[in-house]
Amino acid sequence: MLEREVVYESVLDHDFLDEIYSLPGGHEIKKCIQCGTCSGSCPQGAVMDYAPRKIFSLIRAGFRDEVLESNTIWYCSSCYSCAVRCPKEIKITDVMYALKRIAIKEGKAKKGRKASALSKNFVRMVNKYGRNHETELMARYILSAEPFNALNFVPQGWRLFSNGRLPLMPHKIKNIEQLRKILKKIDELEEM
């Protein structure tokens, strides 16, 4: 439920809309007709604070914090069901990704604490090895996000390990320096 019932123009964040518009393809959200096809298609809709249709209406009305602090963006499993059905061809899934990034950057990912920990550790793995090392990823994720829930992961880990599906050693690509140079350049470009 929205906590602020009456919203004054002055407290709404109009820059938020511009922020979304400036994403590649982001201006598409202007075309949303609030038909609800996305919410009806979303397998996660029932557990989201606001299903996708509402997210678009909140973005357009400038409810920045409500959107960024919602659990919605973290429940989005990137299944693209909404995006393929949207009559206005809005790249809904990609907007969800953009919201994740803004929320992480601004420290608003409280409800996405676990998902953002997983993503950040994944990025760390790739920047370190050039590949994902699933064993280390899980270990790091559990330590950073769910240390008291570690036992919960044991049965699955064992099922993988005992069937020879969990390599203990990471694989590092040969030209990791090249990958890092490319990433560093993006970092510089994005700073500009």
């Binding site: 693209y80 994740k100 919960n152 699955q156 069937n163 599906r165």
Partner: protein, 302 residues
């Protein structure tokens, strides 16, 4: 038919059984997969959640390295398929993305024109090898085996990006809500295809690590629908779908009090079985939910 092969991280670890079955079946189809030297992780859904341009950049490194071979890139992983294609799409559609990626690749001594086509191995087997060839290779009688095709999300849905690259494939290679290509493939192996409605419903993907209950609920729905329609096994094309439905199946059972005992195998394992290969050669012994007795009996022709 020679392709540049982009395996992705999963088939090198938790999905090694997928790779084993691919190695066992593709030579007979006349498919040669040459692994892209020094490929890096595509970043999956996680990298994109943190930094989109960097996620495109790491994928672009792979595409740039593949370009000199002038062949289609083939991947067995639905997530890699999606991410590499999405990178291509953004690279070609948005000049600002193309510019940044060009400069970044140059910093690494690489360049990319945007013309490499990335395909899923399912697409290659169905459209390049062809179903007739599969039927020709099938020697084991599988008609009593009821197989439920599970497509998942990442392979059929992103057609809205115009995936499957190339004019003729502007629409992707199958319908996003009711794909049938794997149904046809199952029939081509001689097995019986189970019709059920959850074949493209989300398995929860990485929510399994972060919002486990929700992901398990989604898995339960898929397993229940397959079981109610008489499936002996589920066939999948994606390492993450396989992991959720297989490795987490006991957990679904303990959480919801269900008694699912449904092996979840890769489509290449099914093809291998049809070709008369032994389960071990196909990595089938690595399943968390082992092949059931009825399934084994059917394989032995009993």
């Amino acid at each position: 038919m020679k392709y540049t092969y982009y395996p992705g991280c999963s088939v090198k670890s938790t999905a090694n059984l997928y790779q084993e079955s691919i190695d066992a079946v593709v030579p007979a189809m006349g498919v040669e997969l040459e692994e892209l030297d020094d490929w890096n992780c595509c970043g999956a859904t996680a990298y994109m959640s943190v930094n989109e341009m960097m996620s495109f950049a790491i994928s672009a490194r792979n595409l740039a390295m593949a370009e000199k071979f002038h062949r289609d890139v083939v991947t067995p992983c639905s997530a890699c398929y999606l991410v590499l294609n999405k990178t291509n799409r953004y690279f070609n559609d948005y000049p600002e993305v193309r510019k940044k990626l060009g400069v970044a690749l140059e910093a690494g001594g690489l360049s990319y024109s945007g013309n490499i086509r990335v395909r899923h191995i399912l697409d290659v087997i169905i459209n390049d090898v062809g179903l007739e060839k599969i039927t020709g290779l099938a020697s084991r009688k599988l008609e009593d085996l009821n197989v439920a095709p599970y497509y998942g999300c990442q392979i059929v849905r992103p057609m809205y990006y115009g995936f499957g690259a190339g004019e003729e494939n502007e629409e992707g290679f199958d319908d996003p809500d009711d794909p049938v290509c794997m149904d046809r493939l199952i029939e081509a192996t001689g097995a019986t295809c189970v019709k059920y409605s959850m074949k493209t419903k989300c398995c929860g993907s990485s929510l399994i690590g972060t919002e486990e209950k929700q992901a398990l609920k989604l898995c339960r729905g898929i397993l229940a629908d397959a079981e109610n329609n008489g499936a002996h096994c589920i066939v999948t094309i994606c390492p993450l779908c396989q992991m959720n439905l297989d490795v987490y199946q006991p957990k679904v059972n303990s959480l919801f009090g269900t008694k699912f005992d449904i092996p979840v195998i890769y489509f290449t394992q099914l093809i291998g079985l049809a070709m008369g290969k032994q389960p071990k050669e196909l990595g089938l012994e690595r399943l968390a939910v082992k092949m059931t007795r009825p399934m084994k009996q059917i394989l032995q022709g009993a």
